[in-house]
Amino acid sequence: MHGASGHETTVLFGLHPLWVATLLFVATYAVIMTDKLNRAIVALLGAGLLILVGVLDQKEAMGAVDWNTLGLLLGMMLIVNITRRSGLFQYVAIWSAKKVDASPWGIMLMMSIVTAVFSAFLDNVTTVLLTVPVTLLITEELKVKPYPYLFAQIFASNIGGTATLIGDPPNIMIGSATGLTFNDFAIALTPVIVVIMVATLVPLYFIWGRHLSATDENRRHVMGFNEREAITDPRLLKQSLLVIALVILGFMLQRQTGIEPATIAIFGAAVLLLLDNLGKDSETQSKNVHAALSEAEWITLMFFLGLFVLVHGIQKAGLIDLMAQGLLKATGGDFNVTALAILWASAVLSAFIDNIPFVATMIPLIKAMAPTFGGDAALLPLWWALSLGACLGGNGTLIGASANLVVAGLAERAGTGFRFLEYLKVAFPLMLISIVLSHLYLYWRFL
Protein backbone atom coordinates (compact mmCIF):
# COMPACT_ATOMS: atom_id res chain seq x y z
CA MET A 1 0.00 0.00 0.00
CA HIS A 2 1.27 3.47 -0.84
CA GLY A 3 0.55 6.72 0.90
CA ALA A 4 -1.94 8.67 -1.17
CA SER A 5 -0.52 12.07 -1.90
CA GLY A 6 -2.34 12.89 -5.13
CA HIS A 7 -4.47 11.53 -7.94
CA GLU A 8 -1.53 9.84 -9.59
CA THR A 9 -0.76 7.61 -6.60
CA THR A 10 -2.22 4.16 -6.25
CA VAL A 11 -3.87 2.59 -3.24
CA LEU A 12 -4.56 -0.99 -2.19
CA PHE A 13 -3.78 -3.61 -4.90
CA GLY A 14 -2.44 -0.87 -7.17
CA LEU A 15 -5.92 0.51 -7.86
CA HIS A 16 -6.45 4.16 -8.80
CA PRO A 17 -7.63 6.23 -5.81
CA LEU A 18 -10.49 7.70 -7.85
CA TRP A 19 -12.05 4.30 -8.38
CA VAL A 20 -11.53 3.12 -4.82
CA ALA A 21 -12.83 6.35 -3.27
CA THR A 22 -15.83 6.42 -5.61
CA LEU A 23 -16.65 2.79 -4.91
CA LEU A 24 -16.45 3.29 -1.15
CA PHE A 25 -18.43 6.52 -1.34
CA VAL A 26 -21.24 5.02 -3.43
CA ALA A 27 -21.34 1.85 -1.32
CA THR A 28 -21.50 3.86 1.90
CA TYR A 29 -24.29 6.12 0.64
CA ALA A 30 -26.19 3.10 -0.69
CA VAL A 31 -26.08 1.36 2.68
CA ILE A 32 -27.09 4.58 4.46
CA MET A 33 -30.13 4.83 2.16
CA THR A 34 -31.26 1.29 2.92
CA ASP A 35 -31.59 2.15 6.63
CA LYS A 36 -30.53 -1.40 7.47
CA LEU A 37 -27.56 -0.24 9.51
CA ASN A 38 -27.28 2.72 11.82
CA ARG A 39 -26.01 5.62 9.71
CA ALA A 40 -23.26 6.54 12.16
CA ILE A 41 -21.83 3.02 11.94
CA VAL A 42 -21.89 3.13 8.13
CA ALA A 43 -20.30 6.58 7.84
CA LEU A 44 -17.54 5.75 10.33
CA LEU A 45 -16.85 2.41 8.62
CA GLY A 46 -16.66 4.12 5.22
CA ALA A 47 -14.33 6.79 6.59
CA GLY A 48 -12.16 4.18 8.29
CA LEU A 49 -11.91 2.11 5.11
CA LEU A 50 -10.82 5.17 3.12
CA ILE A 51 -7.89 5.53 5.50
CA LEU A 52 -7.13 1.81 5.65
CA VAL A 53 -6.91 1.47 1.86
CA GLY A 54 -4.70 4.53 1.63
CA VAL A 55 -6.91 7.12 -0.08
CA LEU A 56 -6.36 9.37 2.93
CA ASP A 57 -4.01 9.22 5.87
CA GLN A 58 -5.20 9.90 9.41
CA LYS A 59 -3.87 13.45 9.46
CA GLU A 60 -5.77 14.30 6.27
CA ALA A 61 -8.91 12.64 7.63
CA MET A 62 -8.80 14.61 10.88
CA GLY A 63 -8.13 17.79 8.91
CA ALA A 64 -11.22 17.09 6.78
CA VAL A 65 -13.58 17.16 9.75
CA ASP A 66 -15.48 20.43 10.02
CA TRP A 67 -15.16 20.98 13.76
CA ASN A 68 -17.10 24.23 13.48
CA THR A 69 -20.20 22.32 12.33
CA LEU A 70 -19.78 19.63 15.00
CA GLY A 71 -19.14 22.20 17.73
CA LEU A 72 -22.17 24.27 16.77
CA LEU A 73 -24.41 21.19 16.70
CA LEU A 74 -23.09 19.91 20.03
CA GLY A 75 -23.34 23.29 21.73
CA MET A 76 -26.94 23.82 20.65
CA MET A 77 -27.87 20.25 21.63
CA LEU A 78 -26.52 20.84 25.13
CA ILE A 79 -28.32 24.16 25.52
CA VAL A 80 -31.63 22.61 24.41
CA ASN A 81 -31.20 19.54 26.63
CA ILE A 82 -30.70 21.72 29.69
CA THR A 83 -33.43 24.20 28.75
CA ARG A 84 -36.07 21.52 28.16
CA ARG A 85 -35.94 20.62 31.87
CA SER A 86 -37.36 24.05 32.68
CA GLY A 87 -40.70 23.35 30.94
CA LEU A 88 -40.30 26.34 28.59
CA PHE A 89 -41.40 24.49 25.48
CA GLN A 90 -44.61 23.10 27.02
CA TYR A 91 -45.37 26.55 28.41
CA VAL A 92 -45.17 28.19 24.98
CA ALA A 93 -47.20 25.43 23.31
CA ILE A 94 -50.01 25.58 25.89
CA TRP A 95 -49.98 29.37 25.99
CA SER A 96 -50.33 29.54 22.21
CA ALA A 97 -53.21 27.02 22.20
CA LYS A 98 -55.09 29.09 24.78
CA LYS A 99 -54.44 32.32 22.87
CA VAL A 100 -56.77 31.06 20.14
CA ASP A 101 -59.45 29.92 22.62
CA ALA A 102 -58.54 26.30 21.89
CA SER A 103 -60.21 26.48 18.49
CA PRO A 104 -59.07 23.48 16.40
CA TRP A 105 -57.88 25.47 13.37
CA GLY A 106 -56.38 28.18 15.59
CA ILE A 107 -54.34 25.56 17.44
CA MET A 108 -53.15 24.07 14.16
CA LEU A 109 -52.07 27.54 13.05
CA MET A 110 -50.38 28.42 16.34
CA MET A 111 -48.62 25.09 16.75
CA SER A 112 -47.30 25.44 13.20
CA ILE A 113 -45.98 28.92 13.93
CA VAL A 114 -44.49 27.85 17.28
CA THR A 115 -42.83 24.86 15.61
CA ALA A 116 -41.46 27.01 12.79
CA VAL A 117 -40.04 29.61 15.19
CA PHE A 118 -38.49 26.99 17.50
CA SER A 119 -37.13 25.21 14.45
CA ALA A 120 -35.39 28.36 13.25
CA PHE A 121 -33.27 28.29 16.41
CA LEU A 122 -33.20 24.61 17.33
CA ASP A 123 -32.53 21.41 15.48
CA ASN A 124 -35.71 20.22 13.67
CA VAL A 125 -35.76 16.81 15.34
CA THR A 126 -35.41 18.37 18.78
CA THR A 127 -38.20 20.80 17.96
CA VAL A 128 -40.69 18.11 16.99
CA LEU A 129 -39.69 15.93 19.94
CA LEU A 130 -40.57 18.87 22.20
CA THR A 131 -43.74 20.10 20.50
CA VAL A 132 -45.44 17.01 19.03
CA PRO A 133 -46.26 15.35 22.39
CA VAL A 134 -48.00 18.57 23.48
CA THR A 135 -49.94 18.61 20.22
CA LEU A 136 -50.97 14.99 20.78
CA LEU A 137 -52.09 15.85 24.29
CA ILE A 138 -54.15 18.81 23.10
CA THR A 139 -55.75 16.91 20.20
CA GLU A 140 -56.59 14.06 22.59
CA GLU A 141 -58.32 16.52 24.91
CA LEU A 142 -60.12 18.16 21.97
CA LYS A 143 -61.00 14.71 20.57
CA VAL A 144 -59.87 15.71 17.07
CA LYS A 145 -57.69 13.69 14.68
CA PRO A 146 -54.03 14.57 15.25
CA TYR A 147 -52.88 13.76 11.70
CA PRO A 148 -53.47 17.25 10.16
CA TYR A 149 -51.71 18.89 13.09
CA LEU A 150 -48.72 16.62 12.88
CA PHE A 151 -48.55 17.03 9.11
CA ALA A 152 -48.52 20.81 9.54
CA GLN A 153 -45.81 20.55 12.19
CA ILE A 154 -43.58 18.46 9.94
CA PHE A 155 -43.81 21.16 7.28
CA ALA A 156 -43.35 23.94 9.82
CA SER A 157 -40.23 22.35 11.27
CA ASN A 158 -38.55 21.94 7.89
CA ILE A 159 -39.64 25.37 6.65
CA GLY A 160 -38.69 27.18 9.87
CA GLY A 161 -35.36 25.39 10.02
CA THR A 162 -34.45 26.82 6.61
CA ALA A 163 -34.66 30.41 7.85
CA THR A 164 -31.44 30.61 9.84
CA LEU A 165 -27.86 29.41 10.01
CA ILE A 166 -28.61 27.20 13.01
CA GLY A 167 -32.05 25.89 12.05
CA ASP A 168 -31.10 22.91 9.94
CA PRO A 169 -27.86 20.90 9.59
CA PRO A 170 -27.49 21.72 5.84
CA ASN A 171 -27.39 25.43 6.72
CA ILE A 172 -24.87 24.82 9.49
CA MET A 173 -22.64 22.97 7.00
CA ILE A 174 -23.05 25.64 4.32
CA GLY A 175 -22.37 28.45 6.79
CA SER A 176 -19.31 26.75 8.16
CA ALA A 177 -17.88 25.95 4.74
CA THR A 178 -18.45 29.42 3.31
CA GLY A 179 -18.13 31.78 6.27
CA LEU A 180 -21.70 33.02 5.77
CA THR A 181 -23.02 34.35 9.07
CA PHE A 182 -26.25 34.06 11.02
CA ASN A 183 -27.30 37.48 9.70
CA ASP A 184 -26.45 36.54 6.10
CA PHE A 185 -28.81 33.56 6.35
CA ALA A 186 -31.54 35.51 8.14
CA ILE A 187 -31.45 38.39 5.66
CA ALA A 188 -31.32 36.17 2.59
CA LEU A 189 -33.72 33.39 3.58
CA THR A 190 -36.17 34.58 6.25
CA PRO A 191 -38.30 36.72 3.86
CA VAL A 192 -38.99 33.85 1.48
CA ILE A 193 -39.50 31.45 4.38
CA VAL A 194 -42.28 33.65 5.78
CA VAL A 195 -43.96 33.65 2.38
CA ILE A 196 -43.58 29.87 2.04
CA MET A 197 -45.00 29.32 5.51
CA VAL A 198 -48.11 31.34 4.64
CA ALA A 199 -48.37 29.63 1.26
CA THR A 200 -48.31 26.26 3.03
CA LEU A 201 -50.85 27.12 5.72
CA VAL A 202 -53.46 28.38 3.23
CA PRO A 203 -53.85 25.01 1.44
CA LEU A 204 -53.75 23.23 4.80
CA TYR A 205 -56.71 25.31 5.91
CA PHE A 206 -58.72 24.28 2.86
CA ILE A 207 -57.66 20.63 3.04
CA TRP A 208 -58.18 20.11 6.80
CA GLY A 209 -58.43 23.29 8.83
CA ARG A 210 -61.93 24.38 7.85
CA HIS A 211 -63.34 20.90 8.61
CA LEU A 212 -61.92 20.67 12.13
CA SER A 213 -64.33 21.05 15.03
CA ALA A 214 -64.42 20.35 18.76
CA THR A 215 -67.16 20.52 21.36
CA ASP A 216 -67.27 23.44 23.77
CA GLU A 217 -66.67 21.06 26.66
CA ASN A 218 -63.50 19.65 25.11
CA ARG A 219 -62.28 23.14 24.32
CA ARG A 220 -62.90 24.07 27.97
CA HIS A 221 -60.61 21.19 28.98
CA VAL A 222 -57.77 22.75 27.02
CA MET A 223 -58.61 26.24 28.23
CA GLY A 224 -58.37 24.79 31.76
CA PHE A 225 -54.66 24.01 31.28
CA ASN A 226 -52.52 26.20 33.51
CA GLU A 227 -49.43 26.98 31.46
CA ARG A 228 -47.63 28.43 34.47
CA GLU A 229 -47.68 24.96 36.04
CA ALA A 230 -45.75 23.70 33.01
CA ILE A 231 -42.74 25.69 34.21
CA THR A 232 -41.02 23.12 36.39
CA ASP A 233 -37.87 25.09 37.22
CA PRO A 234 -38.29 28.92 37.10
CA ARG A 235 -34.63 29.52 38.03
CA LEU A 236 -33.41 27.32 35.20
CA LEU A 237 -35.90 28.96 32.84
CA LYS A 238 -34.43 32.42 33.53
CA GLN A 239 -30.87 31.12 33.16
CA SER A 240 -31.72 29.32 29.92
CA LEU A 241 -33.48 32.33 28.39
CA LEU A 242 -30.53 34.55 29.30
CA VAL A 243 -28.00 32.18 27.74
CA ILE A 244 -30.12 31.57 24.61
CA ALA A 245 -30.50 35.35 24.14
CA LEU A 246 -26.74 35.87 24.53
CA VAL A 247 -25.93 33.02 22.15
CA ILE A 248 -28.26 34.41 19.49
CA LEU A 249 -26.76 37.87 20.05
CA GLY A 250 -23.32 36.27 19.61
CA PHE A 251 -24.43 34.77 16.30
CA MET A 252 -25.80 38.13 15.16
CA LEU A 253 -22.54 39.89 16.01
CA GLN A 254 -20.39 37.21 14.43
CA ARG A 255 -19.18 39.48 11.62
CA GLN A 256 -18.09 42.18 14.09
CA THR A 257 -16.50 39.91 16.69
CA GLY A 258 -15.01 37.34 14.35
CA ILE A 259 -16.00 34.61 16.80
CA GLU A 260 -17.06 31.41 15.05
CA PRO A 261 -20.53 29.87 15.74
CA ALA A 262 -19.07 26.73 17.33
CA THR A 263 -17.24 28.79 19.93
CA ILE A 264 -20.39 30.79 20.68
CA ALA A 265 -22.57 27.68 21.05
CA ILE A 266 -20.08 25.65 23.11
CA PHE A 267 -19.29 28.62 25.34
CA GLY A 268 -23.02 29.25 25.81
CA ALA A 269 -23.53 25.60 26.76
CA ALA A 270 -20.65 25.79 29.23
CA VAL A 271 -22.07 28.96 30.83
CA LEU A 272 -25.52 27.35 31.13
CA LEU A 273 -23.97 24.22 32.69
CA LEU A 274 -22.12 26.48 35.13
CA LEU A 275 -25.26 28.42 36.10
CA ASP A 276 -27.28 25.22 36.45
CA ASN A 277 -24.68 23.64 38.73
CA LEU A 278 -23.63 26.59 40.89
CA GLY A 279 -24.00 25.75 44.57
CA LYS A 280 -24.65 22.06 43.96
CA ASP A 281 -22.52 19.29 45.46
CA SER A 282 -20.01 17.46 43.27
CA GLU A 283 -22.15 14.32 42.94
CA THR A 284 -25.14 16.31 41.68
CA GLN A 285 -22.88 18.27 39.33
CA SER A 286 -21.49 15.04 37.86
CA LYS A 287 -25.00 13.67 37.44
CA ASN A 288 -26.27 16.85 35.74
CA VAL A 289 -23.31 17.19 33.39
CA HIS A 290 -23.41 13.50 32.55
CA ALA A 291 -27.14 13.74 31.76
CA ALA A 292 -26.68 16.81 29.54
CA LEU A 293 -23.77 15.25 27.65
CA SER A 294 -25.34 11.83 27.24
CA GLU A 295 -28.52 13.32 25.80
CA ALA A 296 -26.59 14.93 22.94
CA GLU A 297 -27.31 13.21 19.65
CA TRP A 298 -24.01 11.42 19.30
CA ILE A 299 -25.29 9.36 16.38
CA THR A 300 -25.77 12.53 14.36
CA LEU A 301 -22.40 13.92 15.41
CA MET A 302 -20.54 10.71 14.53
CA PHE A 303 -22.46 10.50 11.24
CA PHE A 304 -21.23 14.00 10.35
CA LEU A 305 -17.68 13.11 11.33
CA GLY A 306 -17.65 10.09 9.02
CA LEU A 307 -19.25 12.03 6.17
CA PHE A 308 -16.69 14.81 6.27
CA VAL A 309 -13.91 12.25 5.87
CA LEU A 310 -15.74 10.39 3.09
CA VAL A 311 -16.40 13.56 1.10
CA HIS A 312 -12.81 14.69 1.52
CA GLY A 313 -11.74 11.29 0.20
CA ILE A 314 -13.64 11.69 -3.08
CA GLN A 315 -12.56 15.32 -3.27
CA LYS A 316 -8.90 14.40 -3.00
CA ALA A 317 -9.34 11.55 -5.46
CA GLY A 318 -10.78 13.98 -8.04
CA LEU A 319 -14.41 12.83 -8.16
CA ILE A 320 -15.81 16.19 -6.99
CA ASP A 321 -14.00 18.01 -9.82
CA LEU A 322 -15.41 15.54 -12.32
CA MET A 323 -18.93 15.98 -10.92
CA ALA A 324 -18.60 19.77 -11.02
CA GLN A 325 -17.46 19.64 -14.63
CA GLY A 326 -20.38 17.35 -15.42
CA LEU A 327 -22.89 19.72 -13.83
CA LEU A 328 -21.41 22.72 -15.63
CA LYS A 329 -21.56 20.83 -18.91
CA ALA A 330 -25.20 19.91 -18.27
CA THR A 331 -26.14 23.53 -17.54
CA GLY A 332 -24.02 24.89 -20.39
CA GLY A 333 -21.98 26.88 -17.87
CA ASP A 334 -24.92 29.29 -17.46
CA PHE A 335 -24.93 30.65 -13.90
CA ASN A 336 -28.71 31.10 -13.63
CA VAL A 337 -29.44 27.67 -15.03
CA THR A 338 -26.86 26.18 -12.66
CA ALA A 339 -28.41 27.89 -9.62
CA LEU A 340 -31.94 26.80 -10.49
CA ALA A 341 -30.77 23.29 -11.37
CA ILE A 342 -29.16 23.05 -7.94
CA LEU A 343 -32.41 24.25 -6.32
CA TRP A 344 -34.63 21.73 -8.09
CA ALA A 345 -32.22 18.81 -8.01
CA SER A 346 -31.58 19.40 -4.30
CA ALA A 347 -35.30 19.54 -3.58
CA VAL A 348 -36.25 16.38 -5.48
CA LEU A 349 -33.24 14.39 -4.24
CA SER A 350 -33.68 15.57 -0.65
CA ALA A 351 -37.25 14.32 -0.73
CA PHE A 352 -35.92 10.79 -1.09
CA ILE A 353 -32.42 10.75 0.34
CA ASP A 354 -30.89 12.18 3.49
CA ASN A 355 -30.08 15.83 2.82
CA ILE A 356 -27.02 15.80 5.11
CA PRO A 357 -24.79 13.55 2.95
CA PHE A 358 -26.20 15.24 -0.13
CA VAL A 359 -25.20 18.71 1.08
CA ALA A 360 -21.86 17.42 2.34
CA THR A 361 -21.16 16.32 -1.25
CA MET A 362 -22.56 19.44 -2.90
CA ILE A 363 -20.46 21.89 -0.86
CA PRO A 364 -17.08 21.01 -2.40
CA LEU A 365 -18.80 20.56 -5.75
CA ILE A 366 -20.11 24.13 -5.70
CA LYS A 367 -16.78 25.42 -4.43
CA ALA A 368 -15.10 23.74 -7.40
CA MET A 369 -17.21 25.94 -9.72
CA ALA A 370 -15.75 29.17 -8.30
CA PRO A 371 -13.11 29.62 -11.04
CA THR A 372 -15.79 29.25 -13.74
CA PHE A 373 -18.14 31.79 -12.20
CA GLY A 374 -15.62 34.44 -11.16
CA GLY A 375 -14.58 33.51 -7.64
CA ASP A 376 -16.08 32.55 -4.29
CA ALA A 377 -18.12 35.74 -3.84
CA ALA A 378 -20.05 35.08 -7.01
CA LEU A 379 -21.28 31.73 -5.69
CA LEU A 380 -23.68 33.23 -3.13
CA PRO A 381 -26.93 32.46 -5.04
CA LEU A 382 -25.79 28.87 -5.46
CA TRP A 383 -25.50 28.49 -1.68
CA TRP A 384 -29.02 29.86 -1.17
CA ALA A 385 -30.30 27.54 -3.90
CA LEU A 386 -28.68 24.59 -2.17
CA SER A 387 -30.03 25.59 1.23
CA LEU A 388 -33.60 26.14 0.04
CA GLY A 389 -33.65 23.00 -2.08
CA ALA A 390 -32.07 20.67 0.47
CA CYS A 391 -34.03 21.92 3.50
CA LEU A 392 -37.46 22.34 1.88
CA GLY A 393 -37.16 19.22 -0.27
CA GLY A 394 -37.22 17.16 2.92
CA ASN A 395 -40.94 17.90 3.21
CA GLY A 396 -41.74 15.99 0.02
CA THR A 397 -41.89 12.48 1.44
CA LEU A 398 -42.11 10.81 4.83
CA ILE A 399 -38.46 9.75 4.53
CA GLY A 400 -37.23 13.13 3.31
CA ALA A 401 -36.08 14.41 6.69
CA SER A 402 -35.33 12.96 10.09
CA ALA A 403 -38.01 15.12 11.71
CA ASN A 404 -40.68 13.55 9.47
CA LEU A 405 -39.76 10.07 10.64
CA VAL A 406 -39.64 11.14 14.28
CA VAL A 407 -43.16 12.63 14.04
CA ALA A 408 -44.44 9.52 12.26
CA GLY A 409 -42.89 7.34 14.99
CA LEU A 410 -44.47 9.35 17.80
CA ALA A 411 -47.81 9.31 15.99
CA GLU A 412 -47.67 5.54 15.54
CA ARG A 413 -47.00 5.07 19.23
CA ALA A 414 -49.97 7.28 20.02
CA GLY A 415 -52.18 5.22 17.70
CA THR A 416 -52.17 7.49 14.60
CA GLY A 417 -50.84 5.84 11.45
CA PHE A 418 -48.64 7.79 9.04
CA ARG A 419 -48.66 6.08 5.63
CA PHE A 420 -46.00 6.89 3.04
CA LEU A 421 -48.41 7.36 0.13
CA GLU A 422 -51.07 9.18 2.14
CA TYR A 423 -48.42 11.68 3.23
CA LEU A 424 -46.88 11.90 -0.25
CA LYS A 425 -50.19 12.82 -1.93
CA VAL A 426 -50.45 16.10 -0.06
CA ALA A 427 -46.82 16.71 0.88
CA PHE A 428 -45.14 16.43 -2.50
CA PRO A 429 -47.34 19.04 -4.24
CA LEU A 430 -46.97 21.36 -1.23
CA MET A 431 -43.20 20.90 -1.33
CA LEU A 432 -43.23 21.74 -5.05
CA ILE A 433 -45.14 24.96 -4.27
CA SER A 434 -42.40 25.92 -1.81
CA ILE A 435 -39.73 25.25 -4.45
CA VAL A 436 -41.61 27.26 -7.09
CA LEU A 437 -41.71 30.16 -4.63
CA SER A 438 -37.99 29.69 -3.90
CA HIS A 439 -37.30 29.62 -7.65
CA LEU A 440 -39.13 32.93 -8.15
CA TYR A 441 -37.44 34.46 -5.11
CA LEU A 442 -33.94 33.42 -6.17
CA TYR A 443 -34.55 34.69 -9.68
CA TRP A 444 -35.97 37.99 -8.46
CA ARG A 445 -33.43 38.71 -5.76
CA PHE A 446 -30.16 37.03 -6.67
CA LEU A 447 -30.01 36.13 -10.37
Binding site: V132, P133, L136, L137, E141, H221, F225
Partner: protein
Protein backbone atom coordinates in the same frame (compact mmCIF):
# COMPACT_ATOMS: atom_id res chain seq x y z
CA UNK B 1 -25.48 -27.00 45.83
CA UNK B 2 -28.31 -24.46 45.61
CA UNK B 3 -31.01 -24.03 48.17
CA UNK B 4 -34.52 -24.53 46.79
CA UNK B 5 -36.24 -21.24 46.05
CA UNK B 6 -38.79 -20.11 48.60
CA UNK B 7 -41.87 -18.93 46.76
CA UNK B 8 -45.53 -18.60 47.34
CA UNK B 9 -47.59 -21.41 45.86
CA UNK B 10 -50.88 -19.79 46.77
CA UNK B 11 -51.17 -16.70 44.64
CA UNK B 12 -53.88 -14.69 42.88
CA UNK B 13 -54.01 -14.93 39.11
CA UNK B 14 -56.15 -13.82 36.20
CA UNK B 15 -57.59 -15.45 33.08
CA UNK B 16 -57.09 -13.46 29.89
CA UNK B 17 -60.85 -13.00 29.54
CA UNK B 18 -61.12 -11.25 32.91
CA UNK B 19 -61.90 -7.56 32.78
CA UNK B 20 -59.85 -4.64 34.05
CA UNK B 21 -62.46 -4.16 36.77
CA UNK B 22 -61.84 -7.72 37.99
CA UNK B 23 -58.08 -7.25 37.77
CA UNK B 24 -58.10 -4.07 39.84
CA UNK B 25 -60.40 -5.68 42.43
CA UNK B 26 -58.00 -8.60 42.80
CA UNK B 27 -55.01 -6.30 43.07
CA UNK B 28 -56.67 -4.38 45.89
CA UNK B 29 -57.80 -7.52 47.71
CA UNK B 30 -54.36 -9.13 47.58
CA UNK B 31 -52.23 -6.00 48.00
CA UNK B 32 -50.23 -6.74 44.83
CA UNK B 33 -49.43 -4.64 41.79
CA UNK B 34 -48.53 -7.41 39.32
CA UNK B 35 -50.75 -10.40 38.54
CA UNK B 36 -49.93 -13.43 36.43
CA UNK B 37 -52.37 -14.26 33.62
CA UNK B 38 -52.73 -18.01 33.03
CA UNK B 39 -54.61 -20.33 30.69
CA UNK B 40 -56.81 -23.28 31.72
CA UNK B 41 -53.78 -25.57 32.09
CA UNK B 42 -52.01 -23.19 34.43
CA UNK B 43 -49.49 -22.05 31.83
CA UNK B 44 -48.37 -18.45 32.10
CA UNK B 45 -49.66 -16.22 29.29
CA UNK B 46 -48.04 -13.08 30.65
CA UNK B 47 -48.31 -10.49 33.38
CA UNK B 48 -50.91 -7.83 34.04
CA UNK B 49 -49.01 -4.95 35.62
CA UNK B 50 -50.41 -1.95 37.44
CA UNK B 51 -48.16 0.38 35.45
CA UNK B 52 -49.93 -0.67 32.24
CA UNK B 53 -53.26 0.24 33.80
CA UNK B 54 -51.88 3.61 34.91
CA UNK B 55 -50.57 4.21 31.38
CA UNK B 56 -54.06 3.67 29.98
CA UNK B 57 -55.48 6.23 32.39
CA UNK B 58 -52.99 8.85 31.21
CA UNK B 59 -53.20 10.85 27.99
CA UNK B 60 -51.20 8.89 25.39
CA UNK B 61 -48.86 11.83 24.85
CA UNK B 62 -47.65 11.61 28.43
CA UNK B 63 -46.29 8.13 27.84
CA UNK B 64 -44.20 9.11 24.80
CA UNK B 65 -40.68 9.91 25.91
CA UNK B 66 -39.89 13.26 27.52
CA UNK B 67 -42.17 15.47 25.44
CA UNK B 68 -44.65 16.01 28.27
CA UNK B 69 -42.51 15.36 31.35
CA UNK B 70 -45.19 16.47 33.81
CA UNK B 71 -48.91 17.06 33.78
CA UNK B 72 -49.22 19.55 36.61
CA UNK B 73 -50.75 22.05 34.17
CA UNK B 74 -53.81 19.84 33.56
CA UNK B 75 -56.88 20.75 35.52
CA UNK B 76 -58.66 17.39 35.36
CA UNK B 77 -60.25 16.27 38.62
CA UNK B 78 -60.38 12.86 40.27
CA UNK B 79 -63.91 12.52 38.90
CA UNK B 80 -62.52 12.83 35.35
CA UNK B 81 -59.96 10.17 36.18
CA UNK B 82 -62.76 7.92 37.46
CA UNK B 83 -64.64 8.57 34.24
CA UNK B 84 -61.59 7.41 32.27
CA UNK B 85 -61.50 4.28 34.45
CA UNK B 86 -65.18 3.61 33.81
CA UNK B 87 -64.56 3.87 30.07
CA UNK B 88 -61.95 1.12 30.13
CA UNK B 89 -62.94 -1.15 33.02
CA UNK B 90 -64.94 -3.53 30.79
CA UNK B 91 -61.93 -4.25 28.55
CA UNK B 92 -60.39 -7.73 28.74
CA UNK B 93 -56.99 -7.99 30.41
CA UNK B 94 -55.51 -9.82 27.41
CA UNK B 95 -55.17 -6.41 25.71
CA UNK B 96 -52.78 -5.33 28.43
CA UNK B 97 -50.82 -8.52 29.08
CA UNK B 98 -47.05 -8.19 28.77
CA UNK B 99 -44.26 -10.72 28.73
CA UNK B 100 -42.72 -11.08 32.19
CA UNK B 101 -39.37 -9.29 32.37
CA UNK B 102 -37.95 -12.07 34.52
CA UNK B 103 -38.91 -15.65 35.31
CA UNK B 104 -37.42 -18.08 37.80
CA UNK B 105 -37.53 -21.83 38.02
CA UNK B 106 -38.35 -23.72 41.17
CA UNK B 107 -34.73 -24.84 41.50
CA UNK B 108 -33.14 -21.41 40.92
CA UNK B 109 -30.83 -20.00 43.59
CA UNK B 110 -32.66 -17.66 46.00
CA UNK B 111 -29.85 -15.15 45.45
CA UNK B 112 -31.09 -14.71 41.88
CA UNK B 113 -34.55 -13.87 43.23
CA UNK B 114 -33.11 -11.38 45.70
CA UNK B 115 -31.02 -9.78 42.95
CA UNK B 116 -34.04 -9.33 40.65
CA UNK B 117 -36.13 -7.89 43.47
CA UNK B 118 -33.26 -5.57 44.37
CA UNK B 119 -33.23 -4.37 40.75
CA UNK B 120 -36.89 -3.38 41.01
CA UNK B 121 -38.99 -6.43 40.11
CA UNK B 122 -42.30 -6.52 42.03
CA UNK B 123 -43.38 -10.10 41.63
CA UNK B 124 -41.58 -12.79 39.67
CA UNK B 125 -43.30 -15.86 38.20
CA UNK B 126 -41.81 -19.21 39.18
CA UNK B 127 -42.06 -22.11 36.71
CA UNK B 128 -41.80 -25.81 37.32
CA UNK B 129 -38.36 -27.01 36.15
CA UNK B 130 -38.09 -27.11 32.32
CA UNK B 131 -41.66 -25.93 31.68
CA UNK B 132 -43.87 -22.84 31.48
CA UNK B 133 -46.31 -24.19 34.06
CA UNK B 134 -46.67 -21.57 36.75
CA UNK B 135 -46.12 -23.03 40.19
CA UNK B 136 -45.68 -19.91 42.25
CA UNK B 137 -44.82 -16.26 42.57
CA UNK B 138 -42.03 -14.68 44.54
CA UNK B 139 -42.08 -11.15 45.91
CA UNK B 140 -39.96 -9.20 48.39
CA UNK B 141 -42.54 -10.10 51.00
CA UNK B 142 -41.98 -13.83 50.42
CA UNK B 143 -38.24 -13.41 50.76
CA UNK B 144 -38.61 -11.43 53.99
CA UNK B 145 -40.89 -14.12 55.39
CA UNK B 146 -38.38 -16.82 54.45
CA UNK B 147 -35.58 -14.94 56.21
CA UNK B 148 -37.33 -15.03 59.57
CA UNK B 149 -35.87 -17.51 62.10
CA UNK B 150 -37.56 -20.87 62.16
CA UNK B 151 -40.72 -20.70 64.25
CA UNK B 152 -40.96 -16.92 64.03
CA UNK B 153 -44.00 -15.41 62.43
Amino acid sequence: MTTPLIYNTVFPSLRDTDTLAEATRRMLENHVSDLPVVDGAGRLLGMFKLERLLAVLLPKAATLGDGVPDLAFMSDTIEQLRERMREIEGAAVHQFVVEPEHVLHADTSPFEAVLLLYKGANAIPVFAPDSRTLVGMVSARDVLAALQPAGAK
